[in-house]
C-alpha cells in the first residue's frame, strides 16, 4: 500500500530511470518498479549510481537514486562535483535508518548525520513520516526536476508502520 503510493509519487513526477541499492524497507518499492516500464539499474555502490544517473540525465531522463541514508555518505563528492556542479536533475529517495526501533547500532550515526550532510551540500530535502506526507512528496519531486536540481526525501520506518 505505502510502497504503491511511493511509486505513484515517482510516476506523478515522470521519473523514468531508477538507480538502486537494496534495503529491507525499500524491497516492496523495487518489486513494484520492476512491474512498470521504468528502467532500473541496480548498482554495486551508491557513488556509481550517481554517475549512471548523471549520464541518464544528460539524455533527458529524470532519475531517482533509491538507497539507504547510509549510502548518502558514499556519494558526497560525486553529488557535489558532478550532479550539483553540472546542474543535473536527480532525486535521492532514501530509507531513513537509525531512528526509533533501529536494531542495527551502526545505522545510528549516519542516520543522525544524513540531514546535516544534505544541508552542507545545499540539497533541499523533506522527511516523509506519515502517509499524509506523500502528496507533498510528489509535488516536491516535480519541482526538483522542473528546476533541474538535486533534491532528497527520507522515508521513515514509521511510514510503513502507520499504514498497517
Amino acid at each position: 500500500m505505502i510502497d504503491t503510493r511511493i511509486v505513484h509519487c515517482m510516476q506523478a513526477a515522470a521519473v523514468d530511470m531508477v538507480v538502486s541499492l537494496p534495503c529491507n524497507m525499500l524491497s516492496g518499492i523495487l518489486d513494484h518498479i520492476d512491474m512498470l516500464p521504468i528502467k532500473r539499474i541496480s548498482v554495486c555502490r551508491e557513488e556509481e549510481g550517481v554517475g549512471i544517473a548523471a549520464g541518464a540525465a544528460l539524455a533527458g531522463k529524470w532519475p531517482v537514486l533509491l538507497m539507504q541514508n547510509s549510502g548518502l555518505g558514499n556519494c558526497v563528492n560525486a553529488l557535489a562535483s558532478l550532479t550539483c556542479l553540472y546542474r543535473l536533475p536527480l532525486f535521492l529517495l532514501m530509507s531513513h535508518r537509525g531512528g526509533a526501533g533501529e536494531q542495527i547500532a551502526a545505522q545510528i550515526p549516519m542516520g543522525q548525520a544524513a540531514p546535516r550532510v544534505l544541508e552542507a551540500l545545499a540539497i533541499p530535502y523533506t522527511a516523509v513520516a506519515t502517509p499524509d506526507d506523500l502528496d507533498a512528496l510528489a509535488s516536491f519531486m516535480r519541482q526538483i526536476y522542473a528546476d533541474r536540481a538535486v533534491g532528497a526525501a527520507f522515508l521513515s520506518r514509521e511510514l510503513w508502520h502507520a499504514a498497517q
Partner: protein, 183 residues
C-alpha cells in the same frame, strides 16, 4: 602508444565521447573540442558509470576515455556494465600504470592487476587489450555494435595542454543540445 593516438582514433568516428577527469579530458579538448564531448571536471572514477547511464538512455554510440587509476576506483562498475551491456557502449581504458594527473604515482596495474582479466571476470564478453594505434582501430571496428571494453597500453606522460576553459554547465548544455539535435 600515446594517449593522443587513442584520441585521434576515436574522434574520427562520430560517437559521443565521455572523457575522464584530468589529462584525458584536457588532451581531448585541446585536440578535438566538439559539442559531443563530455568532459568530467570532478568525480574521479565515474566516467564509466556516466557513460553507461548515457548509453542505456539514448541510441548513439558512447565511447568513454577512462584511465586505469579511475577504473580501479570504481571496479564495481565493470560488473554493472557486464550485466546491462548496452550495444552502443565502448569503454577505452588508457592503461599507463600511473595516476598521471596527480604526478605519476604508480597504480596496481603496473604490478599484479590485469584490468582485461578483471573486466572478463566481471562478466564482460567483448574485452580486448591493444598496444598500438592500428590494433586499437581494429578492435574498435570489431567491437562496433557490441558493449565492449578495450584496455589500451599507454605510455605514461601528458601532453602540454591547458585546463579546460569551459564551465561545467556550458559543457552540459552544448552536449545536450547536440544530443537533442541529432547529428
Amino acid at each position: 602508444m600515446r594517449r593522443s593516438e587513442i584520441i585521434e582514433e576515436i574522434v574520427r568516428r562520430d560517437w559521443l565521447i565521455v572523457a575522464n577527469i584530468g589529462y584525458p579530458a584536457r588532451e581531448l579538448f585541446a585536440a578535438a573540442d566538439r559539442p559531443g564531448n563530455f568532459y568530467m571536471l570532478g568525480s574521479m572514477g565515474l566516467a564509466s558509470s556516466l557513460g553507461l547511464g548515457l548509453a542505456v538512455s539514448q541510441p548513439h554510440r558512447v565511447c568513454i576515455l577512462d584511465g586505469d587509476g579511475s577504473v580501479l576506483m570504481n571496479l564495481g562498475s565493470l560488473a554493472t556494465i557486464a550485466h546491462h551491456a548496452p550495444d552502443n557502449f565502448c569503454l577505452i581504458i588508457a592503461d599507463n600504470k600511473v595516476y598521471g594527473s596527480t604526478g605519476g604515482q604508480p597504480t596496481y596495474t603496473g604490478g599484479r592487476t590485469d584490468l582485461a582479466a578483471v573486466a572478463r571476470a566481471a562478466g564482460n564478453t567483448q574485452v580486448s587489450r591493444v598496444s598500438t594505434k592500428s590494433q586499437l582501430a581494429r578492435a574498435l571496428d570489431e567491437h562496433e555494435g557490441h558493449a565492449s571494453i578495450i584496455i589500451a597500453d599507454t605510455d605514461p606522460g601528458n601532453a602540454d595542454v591547458p585546463v579546460i576553459p569551459l564551465s561545467a554547465v556550458a559543457i552540459k548544455e552544448r552536449f545536450m543540445a547536440r544530443l537533442m539535435g541529432g547529428n
